[in-house]
């Protein structure tokens, strides 16, 4: 079963080709006449020479060495690996969407602008915000955009001393990294014994240097911040703003909206909540929505409508400017738009209902064999601690590898950091009860196997195309490209 896969560079023959181009039909000139010799490349770039069939077989074989949502259960916590509807791919590939140039005159892209316009209305309704930009290309890009908008707001008011952003200990790593990228200082806020933001610590931390609090609600522990209104009041009373990380919005659609909780800025990960595929790492899309007072600072252009004509509004003198060359990942937004059209209000609420049922149900099943801290209602995800198993010799990372052997993609491991040996588990609404039952049985069996012979589990996986890969070696001796021997 295990065999090494050749690299592209180890295949092919000189003289083979995998392309077909028409010949040039304009009167040709000599190359040197068009481009001085000293500007020309001397050696060809050394790319492989392959026939089309070799290319296709190579990548087809690679695809069989990859696990996607279509392959099986993928409860990777906070990544919302729900099923990606096929029809989304079809509509996004329509030439009238996929083959538009971003500089086309507005009257030739009315359908695209209408789609953006409608989507903005839907996202506003979903979140309780008053204006959205689709420009950010991913969630973390949305975070950066959101903080830039907040920064511009404070600066515009002459509030230049606000140089700190508060981030709870349960936040995704992108939050603190974003804070640094935006030129801010991070102040970490601990959690209380129920897993909520420690409000006493928050009160201590806020002052006239507070720019914002970034909060994920429900948190990465899958817990809803029960005192969200008090948290909002503490931050607002200090003159700070409240930033909503939308990574976990899948839990609460139709139940509660960030705007109603007091948030001033939100980003959505539409590749999570709104079903667009994750593409082996991307592309995603991270629209940012804001309350009224922050609208003037949004990136430009915004999409607007006048007399049934849609247009790009560049007349935003206080805008932060641009965060992407054009208008964001339009192709991804098309897929999410199609999803919202198909789900409707009732469907989206059912999504959150079923995501929460699945999460609480699976947690209940796993409690038989595993320790789950913060024992209270969960939203769409929960965190198992494999600390007891770890003491026996097989921790969260080893359990993950044992799950690979049993045909499942594991949860997110070793995160959030406040739980030892964490397995952050997000089942999603698109999974059946049978799948959850099968996963729970596999986890029970793994717990038993650890009791019996933890060393065997710690040496896995056994049924994958490669064995446990040596990450330490990759870090110590980085080989980051193929080179001729």
């Amino acid at each position: 079963m295990r065999k090494q896969k050749a690299l592209l560079f180890e295949m092919g023959r000189s003289g083979r080709q995998g392309y077909s181009l028409p010949s040039s039909d304009v009167p040709g000139k000599s190359l040197d006449e068009l481009l001085p010799k000293k500007m020309q490349r001397e050696e060809p770039p050394g790319l492989p020479e392959l026939s089309e069939v070799e290319v296709v077989r190579h990548y087809t074989e690679l695809s069989t060495r990859n696990f996607g949502v279509d392959t099986g259960f993928y409860p990777l916590g906070s990544c919302t690996m729900k099923y990606n509807p096929k029809v989304n791919e079809e509509v996004a590939a329509l030439p009238g969407f996929a083959l538009m140039h971003p500089c086309q005159p507005e009257h030739t892209v009315q359908g695209a602008l209408e789609l953006y316009y409608n989507m903005e209305q839907y996202l506003k309704e979903l979140t309780g915000m008053e204006r959205f930009t689709m420009q950010p290309a991913a969630g973390a890009h949305g975070e950066l955009t959101g903080l830039m908008v907040i920064q511009a707001y404070h600066r515009h008011r002459g509030d230049h001393q606000r140089n700190k952003v508060l981030v709870p200990v349960t936040a995704h790593g992108t939050n603190p990294a974003t804070v640094t990228m935006a030129g801010y200082e991070v102040v970490q806020i601990p959690a209380d014994e129920r897993g909520n933001v420690d409000r006493e610590a928050l009160k201590e931390a806020v002052d006239e240097t507070t720019s914002a609090l970034m909060l994920t609600n429900p948190s990465t522990l899958g817990l809803f911040e029960e005192e969200i209104l008090d948290i909002a009041k503490i931050v607002h009373d200090a003159g700070g703003l409240l930033y909503y990380d939308g990574a976990n919005l899948n839990a609460i659609m139709g139940y509660v909206r960030p705007g109603d909780m007091g948030f001033d800025v939100v980003h959505l990960n539409i590749h999570k909540t709104l079903s667009t595929p994750h593409g082996g790492g991307g592309p995603g899309s991270g629209p940012v929505g804001v309350r009224e007072r922050l609208i003037p600072f949004l990136p430009k252009p915004l999409v607007a409508k006048k007399d049934d004509q849609f247009y790009f509004d560049y007349d935003l003198p206080n805008s932060i400017g641009k965060v992407q060359s054009f208008y964001g990942n339009f192709g991804v937004v098309v897929k999410a738009y199609n999803y919202v059209c198909m789900m409707g209000a009732e469907g989206l609420k059912q999504v959150s209902t079923d995501a929460v049922i699945n999460s609480n149900y699976l947690a209940t099943l796993l409690q038989k064999n595993y320790y789950i801290p913060y024992d209270r209602l969960r939203k769409h995800e929960f965190v198992v601690s494999a600390k007891p198993q770890s003491k026996k010799g097989a921790g969260a990372g080893d359990i993950a590898k044992a799950l690979l052997d049993r045909g499942f993609h594991p949860p997110t491991v070793y995160f959030p950091l406040i739980v030892d040996e964490a397995l952050m588990t997000e089942p999603n609404e698109t999974e059946s009860k049978e799948t959850l039952d099968a996963y729970a049985r596999a986890m029970e069996e793994i717990a038993g196997a650890i009791d019996e012979d933890a060393g065997k589990i710690a040496a896995g996986p056994y049924n994958t195309v490669v064995g446990r890969l040596d990450e330490v070696r990759a870090a110590r001796n980085p080989i980051l490209r193929w080179q001729e021997e």
């Binding site: 995998g18 181009l21 304009v26 190359l31 001085p36 060809p44 770039p45 790319l47 296709v56 990548y59 695809s63 990859n66 996607g68 949502v69 279509d70 590939a93 030439p95 009238g96 538009m100 140039h101 009315q110 695209a112 209408e114 839907y122 973390a140 975070e143 950066l144 830039m148 990294a177 209104l229 659609m253 509660v256 593409g279 082996g280 790492g281 932060i320 400017g321 641009k322 992407q324 060359s325 990942n329 192709g331 999803y339 789900m343 009732e346 079923d354 149900y361 209602l377 993950a400 590898k401 609404e429 009860k433 996986p461 490669v466 040596d470 990450e471 990759a474 870090a475 980051l480 193929w482």
Partner: protein
């Protein structure tokens, strides 16, 4: 009708059994941790749910309102281009083992995407002459911005110089990233559409972190960068070069000019323009910058039996490990687009890519000569074009484009708004896809204007 039932496998019976197992009486109980005061009391106001058939009809009707590259002949570029896309690409990227997966945290079941990215990194290094590349950035503009910030981190300095010949789309994003972070950005002026190197020489000093140049530049001109790298390195500053990867089989490589960091827009590598996104940000560098590199990198290692395999390498640079000390906040990238680019490069190979580059060069030269020979149409700059050229037109570019659209031609991009000194100036691109007949038609239409 409730929408999306076919994506929701739980039945009412399932839900009842599951609630019982959880130990709650109702769905409402599951949401009792949300304070009543903030609860949404009414239904979301969204349009009625559509069936799949209705949704496809609706989306198709929106798409039908747009002009696009299949029903127009495009001479529109400025960073996004109408290049030939081989059929194989969509068949590979359409394999759902790739497109429904995510960041390869679990390497043993992600060898497909990890190896594909490793190969992509290798091909980007071969094209640019760099020693390390990452798995992608969002687009050319964010790659430029992150490359310039990298230079600041590597030199521990806080000032960058950017040529005005760098795309205004890139400079806008760069400016924004620098503003936010409190870094200084100065613009190097133009001289006949090229970077004014004597000015650059005056401006670069021992406080300069990064110098950002573009090759070919925004106007499509190939700049003579010989010696520029040396000037920059004399001040221990970093040369960040933005490139068009499709020009590289033909043009002297960035490494030969002394580039330290190479960035660029990879959309030409088999990626549809999609109204400007998703695009592909290219990011490559000399190996001494590897610890400052943002984003995912695939690296080779071995498994427990000594077999070759791939993992995400050097993760201690990244946000999920390093948090506020990370080299960037990037998490989700453009991996599937990078895969498409890899398939493109594998299928086209060195000859195919060279032929594309040569046809661009020849066809653009032909069009430039014909257009600038017309009355009232002037070449704005002298110098050597790759596939784009700027032309001053006798009237408003918008009016000209309206006229061309009547013949289903997407004309050039009006660049006057970005360069107030260039009145009525348009940027035309001619890719390998354009035929002589299409170019001649454009020329005829231009000739008949006014």
């Amino acid at each position: 009708m409730m929408g999306g039932k076919h994506y929701l496998p739980l039945t009412d019976e399932d839900r009842r059994e599951m609630l019982k197992k959880i130990g709650v009486n109702s769905i409402e109980d599951l949401f009792s941790d949300i304070p009543d005061k903030v609860r949404l009391k009414s239904d979301l106001e969204l349009p009625p749910a559509m069936s799949e058939l209705e949704a496809v009809r609706h989306l198709s009707s929106l798409a039908a309102k747009n002009k696009h590259l299949n029903n127009c002949t495009s001479f529109m570029g400025a960073g996004v281009y109408d290049h030939f896309i081989p059929s194989v690409i969509k068949h590979i990227t359409g394999r759902s083992e790739f497109y429904t997966s995510y960041t390869p945290y679990q390497a043993e079941i992600s060898q497909g995407i990890l190896q594909a990215i490793f190969e992509y990194q290798t091909m980007i290094c071969k094209l640019t002459g760099m020693e390390v590349a990452n798995a992608s950035m969002y687009d050319g503009s964010t790659a430029v911005a992150e490359g310039a910030v990298m230079g600041c981190g590597a030199t521990r300095r806080s000032k960058a110089l950017v040529s005005r010949s760098v795309s205004p789309f890139y400079r806008a994003v760069l400016q924004n990233y620098f503003n936010s972070r409190g870094l200084d950005l100065e613009e190097v002026p133009l001289k006949d559409g090229h970077t004014d190197f004597s000015k650059l020489e005056e401006m670069v000093d021992d406080e300069t972190a990064s110098v950002i140049l573009q090759q070919p530049n925004f106007f499509g001109l190939v700049e003579d960068l010989d010696g520029v790298g040396g000037t920059i390195h004399d001040h221990k500053a970093v040369l960040v070069m933005a490139v068009d990867p499709l020009s590289l089989p033909l043009l002297k490589s960035p490494a030969d000019y002394g580039a330290d960091i190479v960035v660029g827009e990879g959309q030409g590598l088999g990626i549809p323009p999609s109204f400007g996104g998703p695009l592909l940000g290219i990011m490559a560098a000399r190996s001494r910058f590897v610890r400052q590199l943002p984003g995912r990198i695939s690296g080779e290692t071995i498994d427990s039996e000594g077999n070759r395999g791939y993992v995400m390498a050097l993760q201690t640079r990244e946000q999920h490990i390093r948090r506020e000390k990370a080299s960037s906040n990037i998490c989700t990238n453009e991996a599937l687009v990078a895969l498409a680019a890899a398939v493109y490069m594998a299928a086209m190979g060195p000859q195919g890519m060279r032929e594309v580059a040569e046809q661009c060069l020849q066809k653009a030269a032909y069009a430039r000569e014909k257009i600038t020979a017309l009355d009232g149409f002037e070449a704005v700059f002298s110098g050597h074009s790759f596939k784009e050229f700027a032309v001053k037109v006798p009237g408003k570019p918008d009016d000209l484009n309206q006229k061309l659209l009547q013949k289903d031609i997407l004309g050039g991009v009006d660049i006057s708004p970005f360069y107030p000194e260039l009145e009525n100036t348009m940027l035309f691109v001619v890719t390998e896809k354009r035929t002589r007949e299409e170019i001649d038609t454009l020329v005829r239409e231009l000739e008949g204007w006014k």
